[in-house]
Symmetry: C2
Subunit: 300 residues, 2 copies
């Protein structure tokens, strides 16, 4: 089945204790769609870049089979994020956020995108997320991400968006911020009362958990002794998660659980190198092998 | 099989956002042995109390079938801990630690204790833990807990103890403090290199994980919307864990995984009330029912 993803395509400058990159390929829609492309070839991307965006990145995304009809190219500079991580790679310090052309982003879905069964609203202004929802038809599953900025600055609009999605994906700090509850179970139940059928809470090294009204499931992070750069890990997780669901068309509890393991596996590869460098050389058999390892962790 | 536990029996004064208790039954050996008593009736406790220790607590421990031959009663006051928890019940603020008779604690194992197959060294000075190890014979499995105080004040002695145990149990902050690594996988591998065959890292709301040289397993916390008091949760987890292993005599990977689920279940009951109040009315069928729920979380 087809996936439409709306988010950012960016150039990132990132420094961690293990090195740094300048103007490397990044952005939520990028990480998401590249991860999903290992599961399905029907991925439609909506984003905006400036005239400085390198052709090689376009070529890379095309080589992954991603439909770029919805990638607007306008005059000006591409969204640029500059961040730094300390020893604990869980928390980035943002040094600069240059929105550039992203400031004028008004997602317009090409006609061929509007009947996609799966819709991923990456972390953008919730008002734009709502605009996207008005453009989709016949969607089977709408998945939404967000961030602390929108929780503090656009809470009303965010709650309106959340009300209209099937699955909300956020991290533990965001779940606490959104609800005011430090108990994650309580926070999750409260968020479910806002409208979504399911919430996925990502917790970095501690893995991810998901709550619906009737079920609970948690998966540990894939254990890695060496983590290089966590930029894009959340979007890569979402890409593996939605990519797997779209490849099977099955959104049952059992399928969602496997999808969370695939999301976990994809995120584990992502953090082993800067930008999307690990994904560039990643093979399906490596994914399957790590998935088998994850499955073995569930044997009692 | 038989378990010997060496640790504290204390009186706790605890305040949380949900209420408070004064001079309630507490102590690492207490929480541990009561939890274990739901799995096996051969539990031998070594601890020290003062003349103020209420007979009703002795009667309660006896009613759980716990052997108190090793519980010394001396003149003076019982170890008293006073703590306060904020909204996030993960972190206690210690208001007072009155060691009292605990200062003179020199664990002496009655002859009938020395051949116990399972030995749990609760969180006490690592020098005393080593003294205990010198007194046990024919042990099948030695499990050891510790705390931040000993990592900072008695690191050399602690490393000597760790070298001589089979399983080290600590929390995520302690694993990081002991190794200087914020990456828990890296921290766990480093601790394994110190000698133990297995490490269990407890992470509160995020559950627990265990590493051996060849295996990795993680279990989420049992999801609870309302947590009243987390005092003793770690020792209760250990009690369920060791109690289950001792009840089967099987220490294989598969048995250890089930034991971690039982530890998780016991801890989940403990945090639902102050002191050991929940345990006083707990039934085996309630434990089995929550264990079945945990098992269902592992179905893919």
């Amino acid at each position: 089945m087809s996936i439409v993803v709306v988010g950012s395509v960016a150039l990132d400058s990132v420094e961690t204790p293990f090195g740094k990159v300048e103007n490397a390929l990044g952005g939520s829609a990028t990480f998401f769609s590249v991860a999903a492309s290992f599961f399905t070839k029907d991925i439609k991307l909506v984003a905006i870049v400036g005239e400085d965006f390198p052709q090689e990145h376009i070529d890379f995304l095309k080589s992954r089979g991603i439909d770029l009809k919805g990638l607007e190219r306008v005059s000006g500079k591409t969204f640029h994020w500059k961040g730094q991580y300390g020893e604990n790679l869980g928390i980035a310090r943002t040094l600069a956020t240059e929105l550039n052309v992203f400031e004028k982003f008004a997602p317009k879905l090409p006609e061929s995108y509007r009947k996609s069964e799966f819709v991923f609203l990456a972390n953008i202004n919730p008002e734009l997320q709502m605009d996207v929802l008005k453009q989709v038809r016949e969607s089977k599953l709408i998945i939404c991400d967000t961030m602390n900025l929108w929780i503090s600055e656009r809470k009303k609009e965010l709650l309106e968006t959340i009300k209209n999605v099937d699955i909300l994906v956020l991290n533990d700090a965001e779940a606490r911020q959104l609800t005011g509850d430090s108990n994650l179970t309580k926070a999750a139940k409260k968020i479910l009362s806002y409208g979504p059928k399911r919430i996925i809470i990502k917790a970095g090294q501690y893995g991810a958990m998901t709550f619906s009204e009737t079920s609970f499931f948690a998966a540990p992070a894939y254990p890695l002794e060496q983590v290089i750069d966590t930029t894009g890990a959340g979007d890569t997780f979402a890409g593996g998660f939605v990519g797997y669901l779209a490849s099977t068309g099955d959104v049952s509890e059992s399928s969602v659980r496997k999808a969370i393991l695939y999301g976990t596996v994809m995120a584990s590869f992502n953090v082993q190198d800067f930008s999307l460098n690990r994904q560039r050389i990643l093979t399906r058999s490596e994914i399957d092998s790590r998935f088998a390892e994850m499955k073995a962790m569930f044997e009692l």
